[in-house]
């Protein structure tokens, strides 16, 4: 089981507590698809994604970014059993969506970059460490049911 200090719990809850999901969700997903274009593999039926401009304007991607970011709420509410909490989502990503689990880390890195842009100097090394630890645990949980 993952051990969380009070400081880590507080840092992570503070970030998500003041987060504008409707803004950051789309930004993080768009960044992932522009910086790591092979991730577009999973968005074949999302409409126009042929270049950065199309991705930036794409409403379906924006909406999906919000869905994905809210997916982290599960982990936030169940920090002491993230692995079990994500079992079903892991099966979904593995057996239905066939997402290569390496891509979870790419999206998580892009989310860290968006949070850094948002928080600027408040995104201290300790805050980054706590936030990335949280994302790493989610990424690991999402990959657990793959075989």
């Amino acid at each position: 089981m993952v051990e969380w200090t009070e400081q880590e719990r507080s840092t992570i809850n503070k970030i998500f507590g003041s987060l504008n999901y409707d803004d950051i969700g789309p930004k993080a997903l768009r960044r992932c698809l522009i910086v790591y274009p092979w991730c577009l593999k999973y968005f074949g039926d999302f409409g126009a994604t042929h270049n950065a401009e199309a991705i930036q304007k794409n409403d379906k991607i924006a909406k999906h970014g919000i869905v994905v970011l809210h997916g982290l709420d599960l982990a936030l509410k169940n920090m002491d059993c993230i692995k079990a909490t994500y079992a079903k989502l892991s099966v979904l990503h593995s057996e239905k969506l066939h997402v290569d689990p390496d891509n979870f880390k790419l999206l998580s890195d892009c989310l860290a970059i968006e949070i850094a842009s948002l928080m600027k100097s408040d995104f201290t090394p300790d805050v980054q460490a706590s936030f990335q630890k949280f994302l790493a645990v989610v990424v690991s949980a999402l990959g657990k049911q793959y075989h």
Partner: protein, 143 residues
């Protein structure tokens, strides 16, 4: 994923905006690396003080950014341009090349936090490619 002319132009344009703050970026990025990825401390255990913003971290952060500046000046052929640095990392420092990716991420986090309006995805992709190619050039002499 080699660098196109567009990538090189974007990296140089970004560098023009951020290079005045190179020392601060280097110190912040290196300090973050040691904090966020504590396994990297092994390469600096001889320093004593590995805390964020300590003297050795600041000094070495500056050196790292000097390496980045060198790479940008030799962006058309980083493999040959960085041979000496590659040999140093391979034979003397023995840095696991997997760590280059971690430092690249920290550098980009710092750029995003200090220059959020200058680091949209369209620029991030060029910088990420540049740092990935730099890492490859640094790993050239490993084996």
């Amino acid at each position: 994923m080699s660098l196109t002319d567009k990538d090189k132009a974007a990296v140089k344009a970004l560098w023009a905006k951020i290079s005045k703050s190179a020392d601060a970026i280097g110190a912040d990025a290196l300090g973050r690396l040691l904090c966020v990825y504590p396994q990297t401390k092994i390469y600096f255990s001889h320093w004593g003080d590995l805390s964020y913003n300590s003297g050795p971290v600041k000094t070495h952060g500056k050196k790292v950014m000097g390496g980045i500046a060198l790479a940008i000046s030799r962006i058309d052929d980083m493999t040959n341009g960085l041979l000496e640095l590659s040999e140093q990392h391979a034979f003397k420092l023995r840095v696991d090349p997997a760590n280059f990716k971690l430092l690249a991420h920290c550098i980009q986090v710092v750029i995003a936090s200090m220059f959020p309006n200058d680091f949209p995805p369209e620029v991030h992709v060029c910088m990420d490619k540049f740092l990935a190619n730099l890492a490859l050039a640094l790993a050239e002499r490993y084996r």
